[in-house]
């Protein structure tokens, strides 16, 4: 048994896990009670579980707790913005209606947010390259691109 303390969306989260190989995703969902990061494949292939660790987009389904320090800042979709204080990407996704089932959208927004931090005015090919490893099955891609572009121009 191990106790792990994490900084998540500016708050402290403590989880009791069997071992620190446990992927971050399960602590975020089941201990922190968050709905943003989602289980999609558990293999780091689809991107539905994406969160930020110190501003970098990471796949929380394959990111072991052991690799995260107590000082690391973890931000999930809930921490990126709220209905009252939205991140510009969240506003743009609503404006473009860039969601169908929305199961992948957490990963799309978190991946795009990391992109905009590094590259505030990405071109369409740069947006596509940044989201290349995030899968969407509903076929919302063109709207997602429009939403990221819109946010970058906001």
């Amino acid at each position: 048994m191990a106790t792990k303390t994490l900084r998540v969306n500016g708050k402290t989260v403590t989880a009791n896990v069997d071992d620190l190989a446990t992927p971050l995703l399960y602590v975020l969902r089941n201990d922190a009670g968050l709905h943003g990061p989602r289980f999609g494949c558990g293999l780091g292939q689809c991107g539905a579980c994406t969160v930020h660790v110190n501003g970098e987009a990471v796949r929380s389904c394959v990111r072991p707790l052991s690799s995260i320090a107590a000082s690391d800042e973890i931000v999930t979709l809930e921490g990126l913005g709220t209905q009252e204080k939205p991140h510009k990407l969240q506003t743009a996704f609503v404006e473009e209606q860039a969601v169908q089932c929305g199961y992948c959208i957490n990963g799309m927004i978190m991946q795009a947010a990391a992109l905009l931090t590094k590259n505030p005015k990405p071109s369409i090919p740069e947006i596509k390259n940044a989201l290349q490893n995030n899968l969407c099955r509903c076929g919302t891609h063109l709207r997602i691109i429009r939403a990221v572009k819109r946010a970058s121009e906001a």
Partner: protein
């Protein structure tokens, strides 16, 4: 076991931590209603609509929201007929204790079919409100008007009474008579507007509760351990193999359904991976390279033809042999399609709470009542002992594992006496969902000296399109036999035998002037059982058989056009589509700036060849679509890039144009993925495309650059299906465009670089 009175039973489920933005709290009024084995009575206004003391109207929808936005459209329809501001419309999604049975939410029919009773119930509610106001205001009903959730005297808007004042918190207690007349389209102020979807804000802020997020007090986590071969059985289980896993509550085995229950989710994952099960060996699948020959050689299943389609003959006119005899040119072609995964990004998930006094199931099913009855039968309980509460899951696109996983959850919960959440792994989903069926089709046809079709002979060989645990509407109820998990658990009574059902849809060409025609669906048997003819269970996926059928019909049409040396659109028009078909074809051609010329395009130098292709579909009673696809084919690598897609779309009356566009874009992109990349792979024992590396789907760099959409609104017609129809133009449209670009026909999906290169080499 006796079902509890409804109120008591609801209290037992009170630990649910779930909430939708627009979901109204359960009112006492709903609890007081008569809830039968298939829910509240469909002929009562109160079953559908409730007006609260605060003036909100709540829709009790029996239609599952599958992530398409259709529930926003249903709310628009209700608010329209009620003359209520949209902001005051609320939604309760399917719940067998609260909502009417609207059968299966499938076939892109949420608006076209499921809005109908809602529209009528709302029209009747509005008429009843006017009657109540007439009494209250002491003014004849014909002098009253409704707007903004209030009834007022025409010309004297100050003399008014709100719906809340009239009936807020009380029941209508009125039957739906069919006498109240819904509005004429000219009166619409909400229907026809691109209102934003109610669910999107919650989805982008992480506050939405998907099925995968449902948590119940005291809930444990389960995972399943599936056989390593489709037909393998348990010989023994080495329980010591998981003794080291902390938090292990129980190893559960019922026949060949094996699972583990743990306190934490990651423990369940670890236990499922570590559990050593000795399975029998089994190698009953065909060799993958022989798949289509195996299908072609299966014996016909004669008893499964629907009564109105004896022998599977969908259409027959004239004399094929005579037509072929007088042809100056004849063509033969064989088309092949593979199995597909639905590919939901979130694997299937369910929560079950099996108690001595009743069972509650949370599920993303498309068939709430049919699946509830299937679960009840599986457990040997009366329907009303099982409550099924719908929660929207990851998009399903048809019958993925959403229903099957319920049996897993029920079996595990029953074994431990606690609520259990079962989340399938990616490999569970890909290995055990209901696949889109593989297909082989054979065509022959002929052209006369004028380049007109004189014979059309098409036959396809397929399985049933239906393996849901639900009877076909209008018969209520369901059976567990179609569920692969029930089969694993030893349930032997077969699932529903529905004949070929939707598998035959749209195989007949849509052109009026095709003489000497024979169109046949050769039925090979039920789809539902893993012991069926091909041993892999198949089920509906985005159009059921339509995408395969239209692929064949519209590719063969294109082959005939090219053989006649005619422009593909002019050739189609010459064979007379119906009026709405002509309209979409012309609208697409105009939007895409289609240049008339025969295919293939003149040969160009350089590695990249460009081409365009067209495909259409549509009958009078359904949505009409014409799609034009512009591709670039790399002659060196065989890679196909879809550059631009133009879709002209007539779905009758449009309820929400923005949502319609979203569905068209999505359908086109998903079907492009299926056209270019997707194929379920398997060895002699099992499916092997168990993750996204072995089953790649389209990525951002591969999607079409542009999708242009022309919406043709037909307020004179009822709303028709949205979602599937546009997607069904994609496979033939791309195949025809590849032919236009490089002069070779791709008759086997997917159009991978290897297949394109092989075709080019063969043509050289």
């Amino acid at each position: 076991m006796n079902p509890l009175p409804r109120r008591e039973f609801l209290k037992g489920a009170g630990a649910l931590v779930i909430g939708f933005n627009l979901t109204a709290a359960r009112s006492d009024r709903a609890a007081a209603m008569e809830i039968g084995p298939y829910g509240p009575p469909e002929d009562q206004i109160d079953s559908w609509i409730e007006i609260g003391e605060d003036g909100h109207a709540t829709l009790f929808s029996g239609c599952s929201e599958l992530g398409t936005g259709s529930s926003t459209g249903l709310l628009q329809v209700m608010a329209e007929e009620l003359d209520l501001p949209f902001e005051r419309a609320r939604l309760v999604l399917p719940d067998t204790n609260r909502t009417p049975d609207q059968f299966v939410s499938s076939g892109s029919r949420a608006i076209s079919a499921h809005s109908r009773p809602i529209r009528q119930a709302a029209a009747e509610a509005r008429a009843a409100l006017v009657e109540l106001a007439a009494q209250k205001l002491n003014v004849p009903a014909d002098q009253l008007v409704t707007a903004g959730g209030a009834v007022s005297v025409r010309g004297t808007p100050t003399k008014s009474v709100t719906y809340a004042e009239l009936i807020g918190g009380k029941q209508f207690n009125l039957r739906i008579t069919g006498k109240a007349k819904p509005k004429a389209p000219a009166e619409y102020r909400l229907v026809g507007k691109s209102l934003p979807r109610w669910d999107i804000p919650a989805k982008v802020f992480g506050t939405f509760t998907y099925m995968q997020d449902v948590k119940v007090g005291g809930m444990l986590h389960g995972r399943v351990v599936r056989p390593p071969a489709q037909g393998a059985s348990v010989i023994s289980i080495d329980e010591a193999s998981v003794a080291h896993i902390p938090g292990l509550v129980k190893i559960v085995r019922v026949n060949d359904l094996v699972g583990v229950v743990c306190r934490r989710e990651e423990q369940a994952i670890a236990a499922a991976q570590a559990l050593k099960v000795n399975w029998s060996s089994w190698t009953g699948l065909p060799d993958m390279k022989d798949l289509h020959a195996t299908i072609r050689n299966l014996p016909e299943f004669p008893s499964g033809y629907p009564k109105n389609v004896p022998g599977g003959v969908l259409a027959e006119s004239g004399d094929i042999d005579a037509g072929l005899a007088k042809a100056v040119k004849t063509l033969k072609a064989t088309y092949l399609s593979p199995y597909h995964h639905h590919g939901s990004i979130g694997p299937s998930c369910a929560v079950a709470d099996v108690r001595g006094d009743g069972v509650t199931v949370w599920s993303g099913t498309q068939t709430p009542y049919g699946t509830r009855e299937a679960v009840a039968k599986f457990l040997g309980l009366p329907n009303q002992s099982v409550r099924l509460i719908y929660a929207e899951a990851s998009g399903c696109y048809g019958q993925n594992g959403a229903d099957d996983v319920i049996i897993d959850a029920v079996v595990l919960s029953r074994a431990v006496g606690r609520p259990v959440r079962v989340q399938w792994s990616r490999a569970d989903e890909n290995g055990w969902e209901a696949f889109k069926a593989a297909r082989i089709s054979e065509c022959q046809g002929g052209l006369d000296a004028n380049g007109k079709i004189v014979a059309w002979d098409a036959r396809t060989f397929g399985l049933s399109g239906y393996s849901r645990p639900e009877y076909h509407e209008p018969k209520h109820g369901g059976e567990p036999g179609s569920l692969v998990t029930a089969q694993l658990a030893g349930w032997t009574k077969p699932g529903l035998e529905e004949g070929f059902a939707g598998a035959s849809n749209n195989f007949e060409p849509v052109y009026e002037d095709v003489p000497n025609k024979r169109v046949v669906f050769t039925y090979l048997g039920p789809a539902s059982h893993r012991q069926g003819p091909l041993r892999l269970r198949v089920g509906s996926m985005r159009g059921v058989g339509s995408p395969d059928n239209i692929f064949v019909a519209e590719c063969f049409m294109d082959e005939l056009a090219a053989a006649a040396g005619q422009d593909a659109i002019e050739f189609r028009l010459k064979h007379q589509p119906r009026a709405r078909g002509v309209a979409v074809l012309k609208a697409a051609a105009e939007k895409a700036k289609w240049q008339s010329r025969p295919s293939p395009a003149p040969t160009t130098t350089g590695d990249i060849a460009y081409g365009r292709g067209v495909a259409m579909l549509g009958i009078d009673s359904d949505t009409n679509v014409a799609g034009i696809f512009e591709v670039a084919v790399n002659k060196k690598t065989g890679e196909v890039k879809v550059r631009r897609v133009t879709i002209a779309h007539d779905c009758g009356l449009i309820v929400n144009p923005g949502a319609v566009r979203n569905q068209i874009e999505g359908g086109v992109i998903q079907s492009t993925s299926r056209a270019l990349k997707e194929e379920v792979t398997f060895d002699r024992s099992r499916v092997t495309s168990l993750d996204w590396a072995s089953y790649p789907v389209i990525t951002f760099n591969e999607i079409p650059d542009e999708i242009d959409i022309v919406l043709i609104d037909r307020p004179d017609l009822p709303p028709m299906r949205v979602g599937e129809p546009a997607s069904e133009s994609v496979w033939p449209g791309i195949a025809n465009a590849i032919h236009d670009a490089v002069g070779v026909r791709l008759r086997q999906l997917p159009f991978t670089p290897q297949r394109v290169l092989a075709a080019l080499t063969g043509a050289a």
